[in-house]
Amino acid sequence: MSDILILNGWLVDPAGGVDGERDLLLRHGRVAAVEMPGVLRAAKAKETIDAKGMIVAPGLVDVHVHLREPGQTYKESIKTGTAAAAAGGFTSVVAMPNTLPVNDSVERLGWMLDAARGACVKLFAMPAATFGSNGEEITDYHELQRAGAVGFTDDGKPVLHDRVMRAALVAAAGISVPVSQHAEDTRLTGGCSMNAGPVAFRLGLRGMTVEAESKIVERDIRLLKDIERQDGLRPHLHVQHVSTAKAMSLIRAAKAEGLHVTCEVAPHHFTLTDEAIGDYDTNAKMNPPLRNDADRLAMIAGLMDGTVDCIATDHAPHALFEKEQEFERAPNGITGLETALGLALRVLHKGNGMPISRVIELMSAQPAGIVSLEGRGTLKVDSFADVVVFDPATEWSFEAAKSRSKSRNTPFDGASMLGRVAATISEGRVVFKG
């Protein structure tokens, strides 16, 4: 692997405690040196990147993506999905198990993680928490962890039964990985296609209530306490794509109690409200749905005060013909890998004064920590040479037509972004150049 020198940049590495001018030498897929400007001038490298005016940061980590392989490669494949990730500055992504078939066995997990799939950034996976994601019987966590699982989830659906969720948390606690929960009480959301409220009423669409999310979060927190007390274990609950103020305050309280709860928020939930649906734009249809402005502001508050542990995209590609349907029939989900950094910088940094280093932390060190990715999410010497170089000042418009993803389902086509990715390096290989 060739050496890369990154000179004249501003290094932001929250985990390494760096926020200043540094030069960086990458060698053999690892970070070989981090030095003050000038020190590495004599170093030899096959490639030199001049990062003047740029921020050099750990490659971004996304704990929640859908890559649609196996089974639905007309929407996305591991190859195209990871290419989109690279274009967005991500160097590690965690694939959700709702593929066809569901990723619930060592064989399927191994197949997915195999180099033959052509991932251009580091691919991790969370296999299903229950067989077939049917919510009935938990999968073999030990075996799956040995094969590379970094956590377990039935994402797309909740683990609804208390007994099964308890078993999942206990089993995962035994091997120190999280159970990621899609918090939706599906008994309350049948036939619903957007957020409940005045917009849903006007559009004549059935709405998902805030309680459908918060009730599951509440139940899961109760299970954590119960397991700590009765089993003497310390389970880790990770709440996926939080979208309501109510769930956010439950998580805040659980953290204050010292429970091991982490959570993620998706860029669309801190950027848009249900008004974005406009005249039934299925590109604004996702689950959990876009909520009202009070909920959106609660997501920002949670990000600002540290309740939110990381930003995750929930990248969910769908083919055009699937989205070109009646709103209630169209599938949920939007693509997100190429717009996450631009939206986070625009809304959180520029709009709400969050320091860039904190944005980076929410998109690298912290998500890496949630799924225990050793040597990632930081640029300390000997870490993996996963790097994103971006210009923090450039304002630009995202063009869905130019996406690296196979799909174009985004409400952010033409939306303004702040901060443009100039280069993404995964384990010492340049995988994207802007």
């Binding site: 049948g190 036939g191 409940a196 409220g197 005045p198 917009v199 849903a200 009423f201 006007r202 559009l203 004549g204 669409l205 059935r206 005249d279 039934y280 734009d281 299925t282 590109n283 055009l320 013909f321 989205k323 070109e324 349907q325 009646e326 709103f327 209630e328 029939r329 869905a400 037509a401 174009r408 389902n409 985004t410 409400p411 086509d413 033409g414």
Partner: protein, 333 residues
């Protein structure tokens, strides 16, 4: 802006009352008058040889017949495509059905669909003028226009009034019943206040969530039907619009029908004692003895048959407008 939204909605479409300016409402009603006065033979030349497709995914005798007769009275050729016939291919998408109809020469599509918003999709995908003949729980814009016309002809002192933002000042319209599932209620509640009416929505929480007041200024909620009626009756001109309970949409919701009848049925006694002058309307189909008493439906206050008659006239005007004939060329949506 988004990839999906590249299609534009053709002028002459009517997907929601919200897109109509008050001036356009006035133009549609004026055209209705004009068309009604015309000799049948003359009217039959307006859309002679033009092709209109009636695409009905939900059965509706009243609305379908009304549009069909309106089109035929203008000389247009119509074709009915319904999910009851074999003409909608099983599993074919709405987009593809629309493109097929366009390729066959349809110049306008009248759509009834069980999904809210379906007319937007069809209009964007085909680029043809689309008339929304009822979509899911969303809207029924031609019904709101025919209801408006019925009020203008039946309420005292309204005859010959110009349609503007003050036309319905002093009029209270109490819409009662299953508001949640009613596209008629939504369209009326969004249209009538823009002409100066006060709209009072009435019904139990299960059928009328608080979110309904978000439909716009001039829309209020009153749970007590007697109070709503009394207030309306004492305030000037009153309209009581009754809605059917859409049992097929209740989806597991338990409703005590006996209690509902005692609280919300418009019967003779209630009407006489609370708002004896009120105009009684119902978009149909009615369930006599449930939301409305038979004697009220057939009584002197009832405008229910007028509504049906005005439906034909208003739809004639909407079809002329959709096809850009008869002075509507400059109208945009």
């Amino acid at each position: 802006m988004t990839i999906l939204d590249t299609g534009t909605i053709a002028a002459g479409s009517l997907l929601t009352v919200a897109s109509l300016t008050v001036a356009e409402v006035a133009a549609i009603l004026a055209a209705t008058d004009r068309l009604e006065r015309m000799a049948a033979a003359e009217r039959a030349k307006i859309l002679e040889g033009r092709r209109i497709a009636l695409l009905f995914y939900e059965s509706s005798t009243r609305t379908r017949t009304s549009f069909e007769l309106a089109a035929k009275s203008l000389g247009a050729m119509t074709t009915l495509v319904s999910d009851k016939s074999s003409s909608i291919e099983k599993g074919e998408s709405l987009k593809d059905t629309g493109l097929t109809l366009r390729a066959l020469g349809a110049e306008c599509i009248v759509l009834r669909h069980a999904n809210s918003g379906a007319p937007y999709l069809l209009a964007k995908m085909t680029g043809l003028p689309v008339l929304n003949a009822g979509d899911g729980m969303h809207e029924h814009p031609s019904q709101a226009l025919l209801d408006l016309r019925t009020m203008l002809t039946r309420l005292p002192g309204m005859g010959g009034r110009l349609v503007n933002a003050k036309t319905l000042e002093g009029v209270t319209v109490v819409i009662t019943g299953d508001i949640l599932h009613s596209r008629v209620a939504r369209s009326n509640a969004m249209l009538l206040p823009r002409l100066g009416a006060r709209v009072v929505l009435c019904g139990p929480k299960e059928l009328l969530p608080e979110d309904a007041s978000g439909l716009g200024a001039g829309v209020e909620i009153e749970r007590d039907f007697d109070k709503a009626l009394k207030q309306a009756g004492s305030r000037g001109k009153a309209v009581v619009m009754m809605l059917r309970i859409q049992r097929e949409r209740l989806a597991g919701l338990e409703l005590d029908l006996g209690e509902y009848i005692s609280r919300y049925q418009l019967d003779e006694e209630r009407l006489r004692s609370r708002a004896p002058e009120a105009l009684v309307m119902h978009p149909g189909p009615m369930i006599r003895g449930l939301e409305i008493g038979g004697e009220v439906a057939d009584g002197p206050n009832s405008a229910i048959e007028d509504q049906v008659r005005h439906g034909l006239g208003v739809r004639t005007a909407l079809l002329v407008r959709a096809l850009g004939a008869g002075g509507f060329e400059s109208v945009t949506v």
